[in-house]
């Protein structure tokens, strides 16, 4: 496979994955915050095609759960009533991509709710929560990475292009930020910001923390590229013809940094998604009831959940395809740069 084909393939896979999460409202059957008080910790529904008599049904179905007074030990029992799974049904309201009001869902059942990946302690649908949680985690990763790359590019270019005392000062600042272990830096920055915050504020805080914590490494790489580019003949020639600083930066220097920035983006996005997860897992990120991949996993900090409800581990599996996609993308991009500028490993 050629390099270009492989690049396109990884991009396509990532595009599909992000598309599913972006349209979480359509793929998720229920609202992520809607509770079902009668069925906390319901195990994942078993979807059948064959019924008990051995007859084949074209439409998949599951058996309705038996609800009794004593919820705790009747959970695993099912009644004989079948719940056919219907496709393209109308259900809970949501906004597609956060804009278009919509009611259409990919699938759903009439009557009792079907929990594809089980339900959590409040009887909320795990499958829906994982999809919606992806929106928070991926968005904070993507926004944080864009912000930090922007900062890194500006600071790195300023240091490399102008040189002198500015370079000296900025390099010392970079050293300062790289002197802390990554997670300690994240926690320290988070510690110095308000703790009690609404979901939206907390989300924005996480993005700001990520952006401030991550700019140093891309800045150093960009500086290296700018230092070598500004001595190249075509740049000298342009300067000789009387090009202004802004023209040189815009036309000749910034375009040369694009491959480094792209590769850094492919490395930083998963690292930042993971950082958001870690912060939320530790209770310093996006709080309940808004789901994020990190606070979904935070349930596992309770011993009873860890021992009894295996489907609460499933959010951990959901994130693996995304990490695989970004890893593949990063390795192809790194290959394409041909080792011209060596990328330091990720500091997770």
């Amino acid at each position: 496979m050629t390099q270009h084909r492989r690049l396109m393939r990884w991009l396509l896979a990532l595009g599909v994955l992000h598309g599913v999460v972006a349209c979480a409202g359509f793929f998720a059957p229920y609202d992520p915050a809607e509770q079902d008080r009668e069925r906390p910790y319901a195990p994942p529904a078993r979807i059948h095609l064959m019924d008990e008599q051995g007859r084949f049904h074209l439409r998949p179905f599951c058996y309705a759960p038996k609800l009794a007074e004593d919820v705790s030990n009747s959970l695993r029992q099912e009644t004989r009533t079948t719940l056919p799974v219907r496709f393209f049904v109308s259900g809970a309201r949501y906004r597609l991509l956060g804009l278009v009001p919509c009611r259409l869902h990919l699938f759903g059942t009439s009557g009792a709710r079907v929990y594809l990946l089980g339900s959590d302690g409040y009887g909320r649908d795990q499958f829906s929560r994982i999809l919606y949680g992806g929106q928070i985690s991926l968005l904070s990763g993507l926004l944080g990475a864009s912000l930090t790359l922007f900062l890194g590019a500006v600071i790195g270019t300023a240091a490399g292009y102008y040189g002198g005392w500015r370079d000296e000062l900025l390099m010392r600042a970079i050293d300062l930020f790289l002197a802390l272990p990554w997670l300690y830096l994240l926690l320290a920055l988070r510690a110095f910001l308000p703790l009690a915050a609404s979901s939206l504020e907390a989300f924005l805080l996480v993005i700001v923390v990520l952006a401030i914590a991550g700019w140093a490494r891309p800045a150093r790489l960009v500086r290296g590229v700018v230092l070598s580019v500004k001595e190249r003949d075509f740049v000298r020639a342009a300067r000789g013809f009387g090009a202004t600083h802004s023209y040189l930066l815009r036309r000749h220097i910034l375009p040369e940094t694009s491959s480094v920035l792209l590769t850094q983006a492919a490395i930083l996005v998963p690292q930042f998604v993971l950082a958001e997860m870690t912060l939320s897992f530790l209770g310093l990120g996006v709080p309940e009831p808004v789901p994020s991949w990190g606070n979904l996993l935070a349930n596992l900090q309770q011993y009873s959940v860890l021992v009894s409800y295996w489907w609460m581990y499933l959010p951990a599996l959901a994130i693996l395809p995304f990490f695989l996609g970004y890893l593949g993308l990063a390795s192809v991009l790194q290959e394409r740069m041909g080792g011209a500028y060596k990328i330091e490993g990720d500091a997770s």
Binding site: D175, L176, P181, L183, L187, F192, T278, V307, A316, L320
Partner: protein, 324 residues
């Protein structure tokens, strides 16, 4: 020697910079320990204000910084409001555990990564190399948070390993051998989580570095002279490939330190991680700043160790600095 002296001066300046920055940020932060007190109806505002004055929180910033630096010199590192005691002794107990965990994990990770990487490079493109590449790629995809949780689940389900802490109840009464076994059993999972998360990157770098050297003419010549393959790989190739790997060593200390923060919280290892988290939630400012400063010190220490190793392993650095 001048090279090492320069590194030490650099490290001291870095620590100084981090301390100023951390202190500055911590005082700019909204809310402090005594603000949380205001929520408690049993404590009057006057009491809270008196406490603020007692801990000199009402004085100007440079004064407080100077006072804090002085307390570091005295071996106190400020005062923990939550524990009502100087920070340094509290921090030291936890930091020792973190250091212990990270040290063992670093040791094991490198002890595994070197032979695996060399083996991979020696069989480039054949099945051991390909199997190892697949394994490292798989491990690279699994984030450390998930890895730690998986191991915790394994421990809980199987009951083979204790699920938290450093020692069992009744540790003092054990014989030295059993003491060692007890600590080893408690360490197994945190160390495994750290090693598995750091290993793939290390193996890949060792493989790349050794594979590059293996093509060099001097190694072909050495092979033609009939030097045994094992000696060729470990004494000649590894030595020549050491330079980038030693830089990687400094880097791996940082990775393992921040990895250990998470692993400690997940596996309830009594280290800096859970302590720092608790202090952040309680707004116990001096503990947070102290913990951050200490982690910086460890990372700088790791990098300094890498510099020393580099100085020892690479004669070019010695001659370059001597000529200057």
């Amino acid at each position: 020697m001048r090279y090492l002296a320069r590194r030490i001066v650099h490290a001291v300046f870095l620590l100084f910079g981090v301390s100023i920055l951390a202190f500055l940020f911590s005082t700019l932060a909204p809310g402090n320990y005594f603000d949380e007190m205001r929520l408690n109806p049993q404590i009057s505002p006057a009491t809270a204000a008196a406490l603020r004055a007692q801990y000199q929180l009402d004085q100007p910033l440079p004064m407080r910084y100077a006072r804090w630096v002085k307390s570091i010199v005295h071996g106190e590192m400020g005062f923990s409001f939550a524990y009502n005691s100087p920070v340094a002794p509290l921090l030291w107990v936890r930091a020792r555990n973190t250091l212990f965990l990270t040290f063992i994990a670093t040791l094991i990770a490198w002890a595994l990564a070197l032979p695996l990487g060399v083996w991979s490079a020696a069989t480039l493109g054949r099945w051991p190399d390909r199997a190892l590449s697949w394994t490292t790629a798989t491990l690279l995809v699994i984030p450390d948070l998930v890895l730690a949780l998986c191991l915790l689940i394994l421990a809980v389900r199987s009951g083979w390993f204790p699920t938290g802490g450093l020692v069992s109840v009744g540790f003092e009464n054990l014989t030295p051998l059993n003491k060692f076994r007890d600590v080893a059993r408690h360490m197994a999972l945190p160390v495994a989580a750290l090693v598995l998360s750091a290993l793939p990157l290390l193996v890949r770098h060792v493989r790349a570095a050794v594979a590059e050297v293996l093509e060099a003419p001097f190694l072909r010549a050495a092979a033609a002279h009939g030097i045994p393959r094992r000696r060729l790989l470990y004494q000649y190739a590894l030595r020549a490939a050491a330079n980038p790997l030693i830089s990687l060593f400094g880097f791996s200390v940082g990775t393992l330190l921040s990895g250990s923060l998470l692993v400690e919280v997940v596996m309830s290892w009594p280290g800096l991680g859970p302590f720092l988290l608790e202090a952040i939630l309680a707004r116990d400012m001096y503990v947070v700043v102290g913990g951050v400063l200490l982690s910086t010190l460890f990372l700088i220490g790791g990098n300094f160790l890498a510099d020393v190793l580099l100085y020892w392993a690479d004669p070019r650095i010695r001659t370059r600095t001597a000529a200057r």
